[in-house]
Symmetry: C2
Subunit: 280 residues, 2 copies
C-alpha cells in the first residue's frame, strides 16, 4: 500500500539510508528523493537503490513532497528546519529521527504549525556506532522500538499516519511525551555513551594493547560519530547531567564498599547487577 506519493529524505546516512531501502523494498511510496551535498554519495545511493532520485537543492528537494524525513544530526536539523518548512507544501508531513526530542519537537512543532505543515517527532532505536550510507540495511527497523513523541499541538491524523509508516517498516511503535522520552533515553542510551567515551579516554595509551573483549564491548559505543553525540549531549543536556550524577552516586557507593572491604555488601551489589543485566 502506498502511504505517500513522494518521500524526501534529508541526511541519507545509516538511518536515512535504511529508511530509503525499507520504503522502496515495501513499496510504501511512489518516489523516494534524497537530498545530498556530494555527488558521490548521491550516485552511491541511487546505485544501491536507497533513493530513486537525488537533489542538491533543499527547496527543490522538499517542495512537492508528502513526507519529509530529517535524518541529520540534531544541530543540522535545527539549522535547516526553517528553510525546509518554508519550502514544503501545506498539509505535508515532516518528521525527524533524532535521538533527543523535547527541544526538536518544541522548535519544529511551532515552525511547522505556522506554515500548515504537520510535524511529528520520531526516534527509532536502531542507531549504532557505525554511521553512513554504507551501513544502511533494509531490515534495520524490524522489531526495533520506534518512539513517536507528539505534544498537544501535534496533528492527530499525522500521528496515525506516521504510526502506520513505522509499523510498516517493521518497528514496534511506542507513543510517548517528548520530555519523558528524553528522560528515559538519557539513562538507557545517552548515559552508556558518555560512560564509554570517558572509560576509553581514562585508560592509559600503553595499556590498551592488553585489552580483551571486556573493555572492547564496554566501550563499543565510543566509536560513535563525535558530531552526532556532541549534538545529543547539548540537546539533552539537563537529563544527561542528571543521569551522570545518578551514575556517579552508584559508582561512589561501590567505591566505598571496596574501600571498606565490605565483602557481603559487594556480593549483594554484584548479584543485583547480574540479575538486572541477565533480565535485559
Amino acid at each position: 500500500m502506498k502511504l505517500f506519493n513522494k518521500i524526501t529524505i534529508i541526511g541519507v546516512g545509516l538511518i536515512g539510508g535504511s529508511i530509503g531501502l525499507a520504503v522502496k523494498n515495501k513499496k510504501l511510496a511512489k518516489q523516494v528523493t534524497g537530498f545530498f551535498r556530494r555527488k558521490q554519495s548521491a550516485q552511491k545511493a541511487i546505485r544501491n537503490k536507497i533513493v530513486d532520485c537525488a537533489s542538491f537543492d533543499l527547496t527543490q528537494a522538499v517542495k512537492d513532497t508528502d513526507l519529509v524525513i530529517l535524518a541529520t544530526p540534531v544541530e543540522a536539523i535545527k539549522n535547516i528546519s526553517r528553510r525546509v518548512v518554508n519550502s514544503m507544501k501545506p498539509g505535508a508531513i515532516l518528521i525527524d529521527v533524532g535521538s533527543t526530542k523535547k527541544e526538536i519537537v518544541g522548535l519544529l512543532g511551532k515552525l511547522a504549525e505556522k506554515r500548515d505543515i504537520c510535524f511529528v517527532g520520531t526516534h527509532p532505536l536502531a542507531g549504532s556506532e557505525k554511521s553512513g550510507l554504507a551501513f544502511a540495511k533494509k531490515n534495520l527497523f524490524i522489531q526495533a522500538i520506534c518512539f513517536i513523541t507528539p505534544d498537544k499541538g501535534t496533528n492527530k491524523e499525522a500521528i496515525l499516519k506516521i504510526e502506520r509508516f513505522w509499523k510498516q517498516l517493521g518497528a514496534k511503535v511506542v507513543l510517548i511525551n517528548p520530555a519523558i522520552h528524553d528522560h528515559i533515553l538519557a539513562q538507557v542510551s545517552h548515559l552508556p555513551h558518555m560512560i564509554a567515551f570517558a572509560l576509553i579516554n581514562s585508560v592509559p595509551d600503553n595499556h590498551l594493547k592488553f585489552s580483551g573483549s571486556g573493555l572492547q564491548d564496554t566501550t563499543r559505543l565510543a566509536s560513535s560519530p563525535a558530531d552526532i553525540w556532541r549534538d545529543i549531549a547539548l540537546s539533552n543536556r539537563k537529563e544527561i547531567l542528571l543521569s551522570i550524577k545518578n551514575f556517579k552516586e552508584n559508582l561512589i557507593y561501590l567505591e566505598g564498599l571496596i574501600n571498606r572491604k565490605e565483602s557481603r555488601k559487594l556480593t549483594h551489589y554484584f548479584t543485583k547487577a547480574k540479575n538486572r543485566r541477565d533480565n535485559l
Copy 2:
C-alpha cells in the same frame, strides 16, 4: 609431546574445564584429574572428556601430580592453598589462573617454597561473563594473551615449562611482574567490570525495557559471577580504587564540558575517544 604425566585441575569451571579439554585434545598429559565437590559435575566433566578421572578428596587429588592448576575464585585459592601445597609431592609445579596476581604470588610463592613446590602465577585473558563447566571450550586460549607473573623467588625451569604449557594451549605468553600485572588489569579489565555493575544498577527498573543494544553491550560484563568479582575487587583493591578515581576525573571533566555547553571541546573529547576505541 607430553609435558606432564599427571595434571590436576581444582575448580573445573569455564577456565579449568577449558584447560582440561585443551590438554586432552593436545595430549599434553598422560592423565588429567579433576577435583570436584559434587558428583553431578564430576560425571558431566568425565562424560564431556574434560577430565579423565574425578576426585572428591583434595589430598588424594594432588598428591602424585606433576602440575596442579588452581582455577577457583581468588578467595578459594587462598583458603585451600595450604592444604594443596602440603599434599603435593616435592618438585611438582603449582599454578593458578586468577585475575589478580600480586597477593596470590606473594602468598603461594612463600607457602610453596617451604615445601619445595614450584609456584608460578598465570592469568589467561579468556574469562567471560559466562561461567561454569557448560561453557568450557577446547579452543578458549587460542590467540588469547596469557600473563605469567614470576617474582624473584620463582623457579626458572618451572617458568619455562609453564610458558611452554600455555603456548601449547595456543596462548600468546606475556611475562610480567605481578604488581604491574595488577596495575594494568585494574584498568583494562577490573575497571570496565566495576563500571558495568554500577551502570546497570543506576538505571531505574521501569526504564530497562527501553534499552537497546547500546546499554546491553556496555553492561555485558555485569552478568559476570558475583563471587569471582567480589574476590577480585578485594584482592586488587588499591589498584581498582585508583582506576575508579582516574575514571571519575575523566567523567567529571566530560560532565563539565556538557554543563558549560563547550561544543568544540566536546567534539574533541568524543573524537579522541572514537580514535582510541577504533584502534583497539
